[in-house]
């Protein structure tokens, strides 16, 4: 006989003839579900129900946490020192390791063929940023620099030297930029902002304490001189011992060279525009004063 053999064989027959999966047909893997301990039942759970013998333990009247029987407790005996002083005014940056970034790119959650922004990272659920908890954005961390292999155009708020080196070694581009808290809230949740019906605000400049960081080419700041950034790229390549790939000859050069304007929050959207989600329209102001303000 020259019947072509059906692929799968008996397995497909079985699968096709079995009844549909319902709750009645399913059971958990043996050993995966451990029965919970029920107090007050049986020889071992009963009697005093695991509470001990008399006293405060059994009667549930133990003193508060930290109490040590009357002497000065540890948390009061140790003198205060200003380690946490002003902690609520300190800017925090959620760390993003290169290992996690590579993981997201590999799973297809983050598209390396488009500029990677904080919006993209939050959409991909790669990081969770809380602007109300003094988060000022995301920082790149070196962990996973040895396995990182993706050519990307990424924009973060802070980046360590090793992370910058790893990304540039693979032919990518890093930029550090500043988002004030309102702009950050808009950046991570653009759709609720568009539903508010407000015009896109201008991004504010960093404060005096952060201006030196963002004007420094070593940190690839967005306020730094592009020539100095190129020099810094070469210097970093020499320091870490890799050949700096020439991105101008790259096919994705246009994408890699996309940068946001200093006052811009979104790629392709300028400050002052109103984005309407229902009608998929963008409204732009025509008044000269408004235009002058928004484009200054």
């Amino acid at each position: 006989m020259s019947f072509p053999k059906k692929p799968g064989g008996k397995a497909t027959d079985i699968l096709q003839n079995l009844p549909r999966i319902t709750l009645a047909n399913l059971r958990p893997e043996p050993g995966s579900k451990k029965l919970e301990q029920r107090r007050g039942r049986g020889q071992h759970g009963g009697n005093r129900s695991g509470r001990g013998h008399k006293g405060e333990r059994q009667r549930g009247n133990r003193p508060r946490l930290g109490f040590v029987g009357g002497s000065t407790p540890f948390y009061l005996a140790i003198p205060k020192y200003g380690y946490n002083e002003g902690h609520s005014c300190r800017p925090q940056y959620q760390p993003l390791s290169l290992k996690r970034l590579q993981y997201l790119i590999d799973l297809g959650r983050v598209d390396p063929t488009q500029p990677i922004d904080l919006t993209q990272l939050v959409n991909a659920r790669g990081v969770t940023v809380q602007p109300l908890k003094r988060d000022y954005g995301v920082q790149l961390v070196d962990e996973g620099a040895d396995i990182f292999a993706a050519k990307i155009n990424i924009e973060v708020q802070r980046a360590s030297e090793g992370a910058i080196a790893a990304i540039e070694r693979n032919g990518g581009v890093v930029t550090t930029s500043f988002y004030d808290p309102i702009s950050l809230g808009i950046l991570i949740k653009p759709v609720p902002f568009f539903l508010r019906g407000q015009p896109i605000p201008r991004r504010m400049l960093p404060g005096e304490d952060m201006v030196p960081y963002y004007t420094n080419a070593e940190n690839r700041g967005y306020l730094a001189d592009p020539e100095k950034i190129q020099q810094a790229r070469l210097a970093l390549a020499q320091k870490y011992g890799y050949i700096l790939p020439d991105i101008s000859k790259d096919e994705l050069y246009h994408m890699l060279s996309m940068r946001k304007d200093v006052r811009q929050i979104f790629f392709g959207l300028a400050p002052g525009w109103v984005v309407n989600m229902t009608e998929k329209k963008i409204l732009k102001p025509t008044d000269e004063k408004l235009l002058k303000y928004y484009s200054s």
């Binding site: 019906g197 504010m204 005096e208 201006v211 790629f267 002052g272 109103v274 004063k289």
Partner: protein, 230 residues
């Protein structure tokens, strides 16, 4: 125009409005709206805008709460329902007065980059100057140190010597007194003091005699050589 970054929700919204309902679809680059749309690789949260049955409050009636008549609520209505909310889009932007206020506030609280850089430069200069002055002072003082150390050591040595001398003199006087009076005299007693005064007088006399003799010798010495030389 450069590629537009729309979030998943808008991508899904576009797709659902066009009648496609699949979570992972690859749209052609030039679809009907001529834009490059991004795909979502998992099911995003649906945006329930409630377009069919919008609630637009009646501005004139008294029953509507105050907060539904504010400009903020109007903007939110426009954001949710678009032109169907019946709000003039021109009211979304700040008026001229409000804009002036905003510009004034920004000028006060957010100085431009040049001003900030200048301030930073000034601060840095002041800091470096202070540091340099301090370092100069330290260097100058350190240069003086060897001399000061030597001075101090010399002073200490001299003080020690003086003490030794003083002690020697005292023991000598005591011995002298012992010899004279025949018993150990208390250095504080008047007898001892008288004895000390006597000894000093004698010594002074001796010194005077010595000086006179020296002068005579010198005079004699000076006088003698000229006659011999000439």
């Amino acid at each position: 125009m450069a590629a537009f970054m729309l979030s998943r929700r808008t991508a899904v919204l576009c797709r659902t409005l066009k009648g496609i309902s699949a979570s992972k679809t690859v749209l052609p680059a030039n679809s009907q709206c001529g834009l490059l749309l991004q795909t979502a690789s998992y099911n995003p949260r649906p945006l329930r805008l409630n377009i069919r049955d919008p609630y637009i409050p009646d501005k004139d009636s008294e029953k509507t709460p105050e907060w539904q008549k504010t400009a903020k609520y109007d903007r939110k209505l426009f954001g949710r329902y678009g032109s169907a909310s019946g709000i003039d889009p021109a009211s979304l932007w700040p008026s001229h007065k409000e804009l002036d206020k905003i510009i004034a506030e920004e000028n006060e609280w957010h100085p431009p980059l040049e001003v900030m850089l200048k301030n930073i430069a000034i601060k840095e200069k002041a800091e470096t100057e202070k540091r340099l002055a301090k370092e100069k002072l330290i260097a100058a003082n350190m240069a003086k140190m060897p001399k000061m150390v030597a001075d101090w050591r010399r002073q200490k040595r001299e003080a020690k010597l003086k003490l030794k001398e003083e002690k020697a003199r005292r023991t000598k006087l005591l011995a002298e007194a012992r010899e004279r009076f025949g018993y150990a005299v208390d250095p504080r007693s008047p007898k001892f003091l008288e004895m000390v005064a006597e000894i000093e007088k004698e010594e002074k006399k001796k010194k005077k005699l010595l000086k006179r003799r020296l002068k005579e010798e010198q005079a004699a010495g000076v006088v003698q050589p000229p006659p011999t030389s000439s």
